[in-house]
């Protein structure tokens, strides 16, 4: 069954898109992806992020945790790549500690691996990279 892409606001800083949890932490949008990542969910993320951008000062980073994520549809991957090209986006850190997450991240980054998207196997390293200017 495909994932719901409904946006639910728990608080100003915690929003859910289907089974994905989105947290606003300073100038970082922290996404914990869970289950299959459909095209509809990717669209919902893009919509939500553009809304969040308006209330965030300066450039925005993304920390995307793929440890519980399932397959990304090709269209969803393209939409995530678009996130990296947005004016407001600074960096995107993809996080995963196991081989499945590493494979998912490779597919998201694709053959034209963007400079501002990087994969990390530890959250500490990812956060450190995001904070680097």
């Amino acid at each position: 069954m495909s994932q719901s892409a409904e946006i639910k606001y728990v608080s100003e800083n915690e929003i859910w898109i289907g089974s994905n949890k989105v947290m606003v932490e300073g100038n970082t949008i922290h996404v914990i992806a869970q289950g299959e990542q459909t095209t509809e969910m990717a669209h919902a993320h893009l919509k939500l992020n553009q809304k969040l951008f308006s209330s965030m000062e300066g450039k925005v980073n993304f920390l995307i945790d793929l440890n519980k994520a399932g397959k990304n549809s090709p269209e969803a991957r393209q939409i995530w790549v678009q996130h990296g090209k947005l004016e407001k986006t600074s960096k995107i850190a993809l996080l995963g500690i196991h081989p499945v997450a590493r494979v998912l991240a490779s597919f998201v980054m694709g053959i034209n691996k963007p400079n501002n998207v990087c994969f990390f196997s530890s959250e500490e390293e990812a956060v450190k990279w995001l904070k680097q200017s």
Binding site: N67, K71, N72, P74, H98, P99, V100, V103, L104, F107
Partner: protein
């Protein structure tokens, strides 16, 4: 994980990859949820399959778009070509109208100068008449094509003797051959010796029209040799007709377009004959209208043969023979009165001139209202020659009124509306007969004679 489990998992992957290789992009491997290397491999395969499917779908979509684009380009080319052909057609028609008009106007201007020279007068009037008929042929061609294209041309089935039709055509084209100075070309017709049935049931007029168009073309493009036409029995309910010549033949690049409207082949050696480029379109349209088909065999420089088939029914029953009673050589209708209703003064004058030879009393009216007034005056009118398109009340409405007042009066509609439908309308309105403009004097006299016979 045991070796057996590992082998079984790897076999699953191999099976999946083989199916993908055969084009099955629905394959998806299950993940155990342990997020180990095998799950990573399975996830990678699944996502690669998705990418391959997307690539294939995109390629198919691209092919579809390419095909649509090609169709659009083709449609555009056809539309432009159609526009070009229509412009060419108008130029052609204009040329074909102006050419005989030039002779008609020119020789008409010369007539008064040669008033005393009877030979010249006869010669000029023959040319004027012939060029008038050429104009009429052109108009008839355009009307035929228009009716074929709009599906308004009715099929008139009748019983007739096919060999008689071929004899008529042969006689007609022997005269034509003489007129165009091509008597050195042999002209033959052939019948199928196996065809025992004397009569067939089909549209004689259209079969004749098809033959006439094809044989005209054969003469146009043949400088020497033989022209043959005829038929063979092709199956139980189909006759294969043919027209062959030893003329120029049709170049390969023209063979696919010769049946299209407004297309004309050039005959560089013969500039004496022209055409509208409608003949073969009409031929094809008539054949298809009757449920038949046409084909062509041709060799450039050696000649062409057109074959066409039209469904028919054999019959032993003869058609209704129209007995031509002829026109009395000396007409004296002084005891009769005719009312000519005609708004065109020249046509009215022409009718008066023609009728004066018969001594009939002629009353004239340029509109229907005056015509009705004349009838109301109880003038002794026996017959009315009624134009259809008139100012105010039209001729058909006027006929209804006249017939309701004086059912005894005979009415012949005379009109430039020339279709069968127009003839039916006239009869339905109460007219006793119908004659189409331009009409031949003898035909008019014959029709009046017939109506006077009912009085």
């Amino acid at each position: 994980m045991s070796d057996n489990l590992l082998n079984s998992r790897i076999n699953e992957f191999i099976e999946a990859i083989m199916k993908v290789a055969q084009g099955d992009f629905t394959i998806q491997l299950d993940l155990t949820g342990e997020n180990n290397h095998l799950d990573a491999l399975a996830m990678g395969i699944n996502m690669m399959v998705d990418d391959l499917k997307k690539g294939r779908d995109t390629a198919l979509e691209n092919d579809r778009i390419k095909l649509l684009n090609a169709q659009l380009v083709e449609a555009n080319v056809k539309a432009l070509e159609s526009d070009r052909l229509k412009s060419m057609f108008l130029q052609n028609v204009s040329h074909e109208i102006r050419t005989p008009l030039n002779a008609i106007i020119g020789f008409s201007e010369l007539l008064p100068r040669y008033f005393e020279n009877k030979d010249k007068l006869n010669y000029f009037s023959t040319i004027i008449k012939q060029r008038g008929f050429d104009l009429l042929d052109l108009i008839n061609d355009i009307l035929d094509l228009s009716q074929i294209e709009t599906g308004q041309l009715p099929i008139n089935l009748e019983n007739f003797e096919l060999s008689e039709l071929l004899i008529d055509l042969h006689t007609f084209f022997i005269n034509h051959r003489q007129k165009i100075n091509k008597t050195h070309i042999e002209l033959h017709y052939e019948t199928d010796p196996c065809h025992k049935q004397k009569y067939i049931h089909t549209d004689k007029g259209k079969i004749k029209q098809i033959f006439v168009n094809l044989i005209y073309n054969a003469f146009k493009f043949t400088e020497a040799g033989t022209i043959k036409f005829g038929y063979t029995i092709d199956g139980k309910n189909s006759i294969e007709y043919f027209v062959s010549d030893t003329g120029l033949g049709i170049p390969v690049d023209k063979q696919s377009v010769i049946f299209e409207r407004f297309v004309q082949l050039e005959n560089e050696t013969d500039n004496t004959q022209h055409g509208t480029g409608l003949g073969l379109s009409i031929v094809k349209g008539l054949i298809e209208l009757m449920g038949g088909s046409i084909s062509l065999q041709t060799t450039a420089g050696k000649g062409s043969t057109f074959y066409f088939t039209v469904p028919y029914e054999s019959t032993d029953v003869t058609g209704v023979k129209i007995v031509n009673k002829g026109i009395p050589t000396c007409i004296d209708w002084h005891q009769y009165t005719i009312l000519v209703v005609e708004d065109d003064i020249y046509n009215a004058e022409y009718l008066e001139e023609v009728l004066s030879e018969t001594k009939i009393n002629v009353l004239k009216s340029s509109n229907a209202k005056d015509a009705i007034d004349i009838i109301n005056l109880d003038l002794p009118v026996d017959i009315v020659l009624m134009d259809v398109k008139l100012p105010g009340i039209n001729g058909l409405e006027a006929t209804r009124i006249l017939k309701s007042k004086m059912p005894r009066i005979r009415v012949i509609a005379q009109t430039a509306y020339s279709s069968n439908e127009d003839a039916k309308k006239a009869i339905n309105a109460g007219c006793d007969d119908y004659i189409c403009k331009p009409f031949n004097k003898d035909l008019l006299i014959k029709k009046i004679n017939k109506q006077l016979g009912y009085l």
